[in-house]
């Protein structure tokens, strides 16, 4: 039973990891990461780390993945171009990955750790549950606990500073996209705003408009034909 659960969770974790690497759209990569994280939580449960499995699901699948989803939706699904700046990167990278795997496996399995071939000693019933973790965290590891809280605070402040708009007057950041006035790319199709107004709304409201528009409308009488219909 334990072996079946292990292999199912291991296949899920490997499939999720390969999906993160292989998906061209980062949004689907985030979804593959969710599969990977849930499989890892199952593996943590098999290793009698109940609190860490719960923390994995809550912190990663609950908070971190939501951040990833928001950012990848904000940035947009940008698929990478097939152009390779380093020639042979597509073949060298898996080769180096396989070399790293072999190296790590040899380094661990050839070590003389005696407990590596066993399932570990028998542990008490409360091993790895929230009470045990809390006791360890607040008694023996109090200083790392406080340091990690300071680290979280600094990361939150840093993220706010990084993601805010640059507003110091000294530097001149590149302008944001001018969607508001002239269209997406500086308005090459339509001319200025006044010309567009004269073309699009001729005589819709009587007293507004440019001086040219008013002059044309008064010369041609009340049923003003639109100057946009004349071929330009």
């Amino acid at each position: 039973m334990e072996a079946i659960l292990f292999f199912v969770a291991a296949i899920g974790a490997l499939g999720g990891a390969l999906g993160v690497v292989a998906m061209r759209n980062p949004f689907y990569g985030v979804l593959a990461l969710v599969v990977h994280l849930f499989s890892l939580a199952v593996l943590f449960l098999l290793l009698t780390a109940a609190f860490l499995a719960a923390a994995q699901v809550v912190v990663y699948a609950g908070a971190v993945v939501v951040l990833y989803v928001f950012v990848s939706a904000y940035v947009g699904g940008q698929t990478e171009s097939a152009w390779e700046p380093i020639p042979g990167q597509r073949f060298l990278a898996p080769l180096l990955g396989i070399a790293l795997f072999v190296e790590l496996s040899v380094a661990v399995l050839a070590s003389s750790l005696r407990a590596l071939g066993s399932g570990g000693p028998e542990v008490a019933a409360g091993f790895g549950d929230p009470a045990a973790i809390g006791n360890l965290l607040l008694e023996k590891f109090l200083i790392p606990f406080e340091a990690s809280s300071i680290l979280l605070l600094l990361a939150a402040v840093g993220a706010v500073v990084l993601a805010s708009r640059p507003s110091t007057p000294g530097e001149t950041p590149p302008p944001l996209v001018p969607w508001t006035e002239h269209g997406p790319a500086g308005g090459e199709g339509v001319g200025g705003p006044s010309e567009r107004f004269a073309r699009e709304e001729p005589g819709a409201s009587g007293d507004s408009g440019t001086t040219l528009h008013r002059r044309v409308a008064s010369e041609e009488g009340p049923p003003a034909p639109s100057p946009a219909e004349t071929p330009s």
């Binding site: 334990e2 072996a3 292990f6 291991a10 490997l14 990891a17 993160v20 690497v21 980062p26 990569g29 985030v30 990461l33 990977h36 890892l40 593996l43 943590f44 290793l47 780390a49 860490l52 923390a55 994995q56 990663y60 951040l67 990833y68 950012v71 990848s72 904000y74 940035v75 940008q78 990478e80 700046p85 990167q89 597509r90 060298l92 990278a93 898996p94 990955g97 396989i98 790293l100 790590l104 661990v108 407990a115 590596l116 071939g117 066993s118 570990g120 542990v123 091993f127 045990a132 360890l136 965290l137 590891f141 790392p144 680290l151 979280l152 990361a155 990084l162 993601a163 640059p166 590149p174």
Partner: protein, 99 residues
Amino acid sequence: MTAEWYVVLSSLLFAIGAMGILLRRNPVVILLCLELMLNAGNLALIAFSRMVGNGQGQIFALVVMVVAACEVVVGLGLIVAIFRRQLPLDVDELRELRG
């Protein structure tokens, strides 16, 4: 299951994450692959903790989780800042520190 299986699985996941960092050029995907590597490290830490029969290794994994959350927050803030400045989201284009 013996602890060897967990350690080999962890090193395989770590290698997949490293391969993704070498292979991909989108910074969002590179952060995702960093997550894979950190989680592989967590799995190895918890497996070793179970091997020893001591719960202190799980505290290590918890601290790694906190550091991973901080890294995600700062990295995604950087990506949002890069995107707002109209720079290309491609690590081969982003070679200069000067924005």
